[in-house]
Amino acid sequence: MELKPLLITNALLVDGDTPRPGSLLVTDGRIAAIDPTDIPDGTETVDARGQWLAPGIIDLGVFATDKPAFHFGGITRAALMPDNGPLDGAGLVERAAKGGKPDLWIHPLAAATKGLAGKELAEIGLMKQAGARAIATGRARIADSGAMRRVLSYAASLGLVTIIHAEDEGLTAGAVATDGEMATRLGLASAPAVAEAIAIARDLALVEETGAPVHFRQVTTARGLDLIRAAKAKGLPVRCGITPAHLFLSDTAIGDFRTFARLSPPLRSEDDRQACLAAVADGTIDVLSSGHDPRGPEDKRLPFAEALPGMAGAETLLALGLGLIRDGHISPGRLFELLAGTPACLLGVDAGALAVGKEADLILVDDGTPWQVDAKKMAAYAGNTPFDGMPVQGRATAMWKGGSRVR
C-alpha cells in the first residue's frame, strides 16, 4: 500500500523553544518539508486547528507492551525493559520487537547479563542483530563491579548504550521506602537516599575507565544528580532520566500505605524532589519517561511491603510533562527533547524531532484541556497510578507512526 502524502496545516510546530505557527509535509513516511511551498497532488490535508504538532513520544524504559496506554499517551515508540522474560536471547528480542506492530514501535532493550543475574555476559551482539537498540541492567544494578566493567566495554564496542538502574543492593536490601519521617511513622523498612549516589559513583568511575556511554534510567536524589552534573562537566558520555512521579511527588504520598506510590527507586524527600526539578531545569536530566509498569490488584492490593513496586505511567506522562512547562521549569521545546529528542539519540533511531528526513512519528497536542486522572478508567491494563484523582491539563489528540494515522 502506498502512503498518500500528508500535509498538517494550521499547527504550532514544536521545533524550537516555543511552538510557532506553521505546516509540515510528510511523504513516504518521512518529514519532507517544514512550511512547504510545493504540495504534491493527492496530498491529504489535516487541519491542526492551532494545536501543537510535536514529535511522537519515545518512552525510554517501559516494562510492558501496553498499546492502548501508549496510544492514549501519544507514545509512538517504547523502549521495552528486559525484565519480563528476561530478554536475554536473540529470539526473545526479535519477538518483543514485533510486539507493537503495526501501529507502535517497540524497541527491545537487551538484558546485559544472562537471565539478568548480573554475572555472565548475555549475547548482546546477536540481540543487537535481532533488533535490540540498547542494553539494560533491568530493575536492579549489576552488583559485581567486574561484571559491570565487562558489560560496559563490550556494549560500547557494539555501539550500544548501557541503561542502568542505580541503587546499592547492600543498603536497599529489604527496604520499601526512603529513610525519613514518613517511613519511620509508618513502620516501613527504609534505606538511605545515598544508596543511589553510591551506585552512581561506582558506575561513573567505570565509565571514566572504559569510555562506555551510559544512561541512568532514573536519578532521583540531590547527591546523585550532583555526581551526574560533575561527570558531564568532565565530558563523560553520561545521560540520565527521571519519571514524573519523582518530580511531582515526595514520600508523603506513601501515607496511608498507598501501594500505588510504592515505586523503585522509592519516592524521596521533598528536598530531593526540589533538586530533581532544578536538575530538569538546568539540563542535568536528559530524559523524561513513564516507567510504565501496569500491575493489577494481585500485585498491589496487599500490605505495602508485600506489594510490588511500579506504576502505570504512560497515560499521564505527557500531561505531567506539560505541567512542568506550566510551572515554569522548562520550555515546550525542551520538554520534547526530554520526551523524544534525547531518547531517539540514545536508541539510535531516526526520529524524535521535527526535522526534514526524520521518520514522521507525529502527535497533535491539545495543551490546555483539563481532565482528571482516574485509576478506575485508565486505558492501561491496570490503573496503578500514584496520581489518581489529580487534575491535569493537556493530551495527545492525534497520532501518526511513519506518516500513517494511528488515531
Binding site: G180, T184, G187, A189, F257, L302, P303, F304, A305
Partner: protein, 331 residues
Amino acid sequence: MTTSTTRPASDYPPGGDAFCHRHLIGIAQLTPWEISYVLDAAEEWVDLNRSGAAKHDDRLAGLTIINAFFENSTRTLLSFEIAGKRLGADVVNMHAAQSSVKKGETLIDTAMTLNAMRADAMVIRHASSGAVQLIADKVDCPVLNAGDGRHEHPTQALLDALTIRRRLGRVEGLTIAICGDVLHSRVARSNILALTLLGNEVRIVAPPTLTPPAIDRMHVTTFTDMDEGIRDADVVMMLRLQNERMDGAYLPSAREYHALYGLTPKRLEKARPDAIIMHPGPMNRGVEIDSSVADDPQRSTITEQVEMGVAVRMACLDILTRCKRGIAGWN
C-alpha cells in the same frame, strides 16, 4: 484502688463524640481526650476484674468477636480472648498457622471471608505494617489493631499509659525513657505517639543500628548512652530484643548488648529513685533486663501491665461495639 486522675463523665463530650472512631488502628488517629476517655473506661474494668469470683459483665452477649492472628502471639491473643469473654461475647480465634493463608489465599480474600461470617468486631495482628488498615477498609465491623508489623500496637500503648497513671498518679509532665530495639518495635511507635500526645518528655535510648531514621521528627530526644538516657527518668520502659537481631547484623552479640544497654540495678540508680520499670514482655532476662530489676515489686510494673491489658481491651471492645449495640448517642 481508685485514682484521682479519672475524670467525671461530664468532662467528655456526650455519647459517641467522646470517641469518634469506627476502628482502633493506631494512636496516630486519636486525640489526647480520646486516650484519656479509654483509660477512664478501663479503670471500671480493673475494679471488676479484681472483684473476686464473678468477673462477668454480659453487655456483649450474643456478639461474635473474631481474633484473627496472622502472626504468632500468646499473650496478646489470650488477653483479647479473656477481655471478650468477660464481656460475654462469643470469641473465636483464628491462627494463621491453621488457616488458608498458608494455602496462598490473599489477605483481602481472608478478610472478606471473615466479614461474610458476620463478626461484630475483629481483632487483627499481622506481620506487615499497614495490613490491619487494609483489612479495616474492606470489612463492615469495627477492627482493633493488635499489632501490625513495625507500625502500631495501640492497645499496648493504652495499657502502658494506664499503668503509669495508676502507679505515678498522672501520665503527663513525666520523663519517660524507651530503651532498646526501637527500629523494629511497634510498641515503641505507639508509645511515643501516646506519651508525647499526653504531654510527657519521651527519650529514645538505642544503639544507632536500632534507632529509626528521623525519629526526632516524632518529638523525642535520642540517646545512644544508656546511663545518660535514663538519667532522672520517671519511667524506664524496656523493649524486647528479638533473638534474630543479636546475630551480628544489628548487634555484635547478646552479651555486648547487655553490657551497653541492659538494665542492671547499678544503671537504674541513674533514674529517679521512685522510677518505675516497664516491659511489654516476653522478657529476655539477662539480656535487656536483669532479673533483680524485673522482679522488684516496688518498681517493676511488668505483671501489672498484663493486668491493665485485659481492662484496656475490655474498654476498647465495649466502646467500639456501642454503635452496633444501639447505645443511645453512638452511631
